[in-house]
């Protein structure tokens, strides 16, 4: 591991922008392309939104982001201590949403999988959720 950053914030929706911006700033050290940076920013936004909307459903929880770089590899862990996911494979199905009464598109995990190299999820009911995203950053030409 070359570098690491840890960020914790309240599960308020107003913190979604701040979380994306912080991870973007950290990952920028690897000189990603605009597209790579946008991909990471979007995937992080999806995972953070999930923690806020589904994990806690209130603004009093703590969302934790751990970001590590190793060479050109980025590993981002987004963790909450919320209600957990009873069926992870169901939750990760495209268009499935745990909040059908709202306007959630059910695309969060699909977007994460499309924009990152890998997505893994660890969760259990009442035990919180950890989403791990990885991506290898290509070298930008000068």
């Amino acid at each position: 591991m070359d570098n690491q950053m840890k960020l914790e914030f309240l599960s308020k929706s107003s913190n979604e922008s701040f979380a994306r911006a912080t991870v973007s700033a950290f990952v920028s050290q690897l000189d990603p392309t605009l597209e790579e940076l946008a991909d990471i920013k979007t995937a992080v936004s999806e995972a953070v939104t999930n923690a806020i909307v589904h994990g806690y459903q209130n603004p009093d929880g703590i969302v934790c982001i751990l970001c590590e770089t190793n060479g050109q590899n980025v590993r981002i862990e987004i963790r909450d201590e919320g209600r957990g996911i009873p069926d992870i494979s169901l939750a990760m199905q495209p268009l499935y949403t745990g909040s059908p009464e709202t306007e959630r598109s059910g695309m969060g995990f699909t977007v994460m999988e499309a924009f990152m190299d890998s997505v893994s999820v660890e969760s259990a009911p009442k035990k919180g959720t950890k989403v791990i995203l990885t991506k290898k950053i290509g070298n930008a030409s000068c």
Binding site: A38, D39, T42, S45, T49, E103, V111
Partner: protein, 114 residues
């Protein structure tokens, strides 16, 4: 995120600048629904040409407004020029429901023909 609403005949044009996420989607939803209730709105155009970021919360918000406008017999179009947002729109299949355009002028033509 900055929101501007403009009514052109019966088409409501919603122009956003900044970033659209779950937090922003909540704000827009209530503004648009209030405008539709208070003004004679039939069609809806989302002008995202100056939006620098959007995640799937924006897609959900657009689909929600599409269902409402569609039930009123109107059309919905999206003006979107960012490659990142186009990627998201393509992935969601949103283009099968609404017109995705390069300009507000093009979008106006599309919704009036809906």
């Amino acid at each position: 995120m900055q929101i501007a609403l403009q009514l052109k005949q019966r088409t409501l044009i919603v122009s956003l600048t900044g970033e659209l996420d779950h937090h922003g989607a909540e704000q827009i939803r209530s503004m648009i629904e209030r405008a539709i209730t208070e003004r004679d709105v039939k069609n809806l155009i989302f002008d995202f040409s100056d939006l620098s970021f959007m995640d799937s919360s924006g897609i959900g918000m657009i689909i929600g407004r599409y269902k409402l406008i569609h039930s009123l017999g109107g059309g919905v179009a999206l003006v979107c020029t960012s490659p990142q947002m186009k990627k998201l729109v393509t992935m969601s299949g949103l283009g099968r429901l609404i017109s995705v355009c390069q300009s507000v002028e093009q979008a106006l033509t599309k919704v009036k023909g809906a």
